[in-house]
């Protein structure tokens, strides 16, 4: 079956972007030169763009697009003396260029913020409702991607799908809001976005109804106590990690005013479980690895019927200690299979 698409020169596409910017804030992975962790390295992360040339599509972004709908620092309300006021959001809608894995990841964020418990997250929801996805076609795997194993490789949940090539873009426009923009300037072509079919990295996610208690104290985690440095890069780069902490602060310039805000938190980072009074849980870094791993590939699924992890592999990309999460999943699977055998 043929699927009608459009093909545009970058320059024409940029004109449409310009048009769209009147109504939308447009986010895509872009290059922040020499802003990488190491000197003379660049940072690829999401930012507002003005042209297609700014979009970095040949590399994987270091951070996911989650910060667009789940800002790193987000003011919940301003305090003036003892009153409070919830900040407004920008009137514009939002377009995000992102890959299938991240679109699938956003579904996990939706689940947590909108479907876990009786309350919807007010702040998440009001941003999320503005978002339309432009899916960046992702045919070939980057290093560390294991989306296929996690079913993160495919989605049809997009307004537009786009294939970037040097100098031109090819689009599949599903959203009626956008169709009118393209049929004037775009050449009509037959286009169905393709998807990654196989990654270099494959994981076998254990299929268990119940995680045996022995797994929690299994010595496989001890290794990570030695290796993990609790930096939290895996958490912050993950498209599905959604934890946060609230902070109340008085302004230095006028301590009578202040705000309550939330900032990202991460289960690997010290302080995540600290309670007033000093008690805390999972002091061993290995137990944090276990906590995260089981969350991503076991307990979230028990609750919501799909695994949390979408296999974007950013945790592996970013870990300064070369801890491979995909390897960890496979190790866990192997351990579980051996445990099973032992029981037989």
């Amino acid at each position: 079956m043929k699927n009608m698409g459009f093909q545009l020169q970058n320059s024409d596409f940029n004109k449409i972007l310009n048009e769209l910017k009147k109504e939308y804030k447009i986010y895509a992975p872009k290059r922040f030169e020499k802003r990488g962790t190491f000197s003379d390295t660049d940072m690829i992360r999401y930012g507002e763009i003005d042209s297609v040339e700014e979009i970095v599509w040949k590399e994987k972004s270091e951070y996911s697009p989650k910060e667009i709908i789940f800002p790193i620092t987000q003011t919940l309300f301003y305090f003036t003396e003892e009153e409070y006021k919830v900040p407004k959001v920008d009137d514009k809608k939002i377009i995000v260029f992102l890959r299938p894995c991240d679109i699938n990841g956003v579904r996990r964020l939706d689940t947590i913020f909108l479907k876990n418990g009786e309350h919807e997250d007010f702040y998440y929801k009001r941003l999320r409702e503005k978002v339309k996805f432009v899916m960046i076609e992702c045919k070939e795997s980057f290093e560390n991607c294991f989306c296929v194993s996690m079913n993160g490789n495919y989605t049809d949940n997009y307004s537009i799908a786009v294939r970037f090539e040097d100098g031109q873009v090819t689009l599949d426009v599903k959203d009626e809001d956008f169709k009118g923009l393209f049929n004037k300037v775009g050449k009509e072509v037959d286009f169905t976005p393709e998807y990654v079919k196989e990654n270099h990295v494959k994981v076998e996610v254990p299929e268990v109804d119940k995680m045996p208690l022995e797994i929690f104290n299994h010595e496989m985690w001890k290794e990570y106590s030695e290796r993990c440095i609790a930096c939290g890069r895996c958490n912050v780069s993950c498209i599905t990690c959604s934890c946060f902490t609230t902070q109340d602060i008085p302004y230095e310039d006028n301590p009578k005013a202040g705000e309550r805000r939330r900032v990202w938190a991460g289960c690997h980072i010290d302080g995540f479980t600290d309670m007033a009074g000093g008690h805390s849980f999972r002091k061993e870094y290995g137990s944090r690895m276990r906590f995260k791993t089981l969350h991503k590939i076991y307990d979230y699924k028990k609750r919501f019927e799909e695994n949390m992890c979408v296999g974007c592999g950013r945790c592996d990309d970013r870990c300064p200690e070369y801890i491979s999460f995909s390897t960890c999943i496979n190790k866990l699977n192997k351990v579980l299979k051996e445990e099973e055998k032992d029981e037989e």
Binding site: F79, T245, T246, D248
Partner: protein, 264 residues
């Protein structure tokens, strides 16, 4: 804004009742009708927010017994009647007290663990006939840490109340020793009709539950309440999650069959 669950309600402090050097009970004005064992998110603007058990409630008020352990609670300590606290909630499941009616209820509370169960104790203090039998074991580190002294005194007149301290002082004439040591002293006549509520620090709950199980109390008859870090109390922030369980949503009260498998 109605659908913004993060918005607290400003509530007036009606009464401030010192309990120990570092524990104070605040009574605030509210229409809230919590269940026994639920908690609220208490905050002071620009200082912070924290989950606090509702230690008692009644018409037009709730009470929280707050221990001075951090930045927020330090600040709370400066408040006087007439001042306000910002509160949202109640959250969590609470104890299934309907299930306890007609049974032999044993409550074992360690330290501040007495706060979340205080409303149950008071309920049955007022309605002692709803139970077949009622025993309260409560332990504190030392005599000066004893919470709700007057009420314990009051309670002990109506049902078996064992008060113990881990370490006595020269002028302490009461029981000394961990709660676990007093578990064997509770008389349990009908093992099928007993319900045990245990609240306190994690290790206290674990060993007390073991002590009751050793006596033959089945897991299904044991209930505990968990304390965890929480930022949202509504299942978003992730801090209180244990495995697939959100303490703020499915807790803080758990039957021990579930609790024993919740591994941090």
């Amino acid at each position: 804004m109605k659908n913004n669950p993060y918005l607290p309600e400003k509530m007036k402090i009606l009464d401030v009742i010192p309990q120990t050097d570092i524990d104070i009970t605040y009574r605030v004005e509210t229409d809230m009708k919590p269940k026994n064992g639920q908690f609220v998110q208490v905050s002071i603007p620009k200082i912070g927010e924290a989950p606090i058990s509702v230690s008692d409630f009644g018409d037009g008020y709730i009470e929280m017994t707050i221990r001075k352990v951090g930045r927020l609670t330090n600040e709370v300590y400066t408040l006087k009647p007439g001042d306000s606290l910002f509160i949202r909630g109640p959250y969590g499941n609470g104890f299934p007290i309907e299930k306890y009616k007609g049974k032999h209820l044993i409550i074992a509370a360690g330290g501040t663990g007495l706060a979340p169960v205080k409303s149950i104790v008071n309920h049955f203090y007022r309605n002692l006939d709803e139970l077949k039998k009622f025993d309260l074991l409560t332990g504190f580190k030392s005599p000066k840490d004893i919470l709700f002294k007057d009420e314990i005194e009051k309670w002990s007149k109506r049902f078996n109340t064992i008060l113990t301290v881990d370490k006595g002082t020269d002028d302490w004439n009461g029981n000394v020793g961990l709660i676990t040591e007093y578990v064997p002293k509770v008389e349990i006549e009908d093992m099928d009709n007993v319900e045990v509520v245990i609240v306190g620090p994690p290790l206290m709950m674990k060993f007390t539950a073991q002590a009751f199980m050793q006596r033959g109390v089945p897991k299904e008859k044991i209930w505990v309440s968990f304390e965890r870090k929480m930022s949202c109390a509504i299942g978003k922030c992730g801090h209180c999650k244990i495995d697939e369980t959100y303490v703020c949503l499915e807790g803080p009260v758990f039957n021990y069959t579930k609790a024993e498998n919740l591994i941090d």
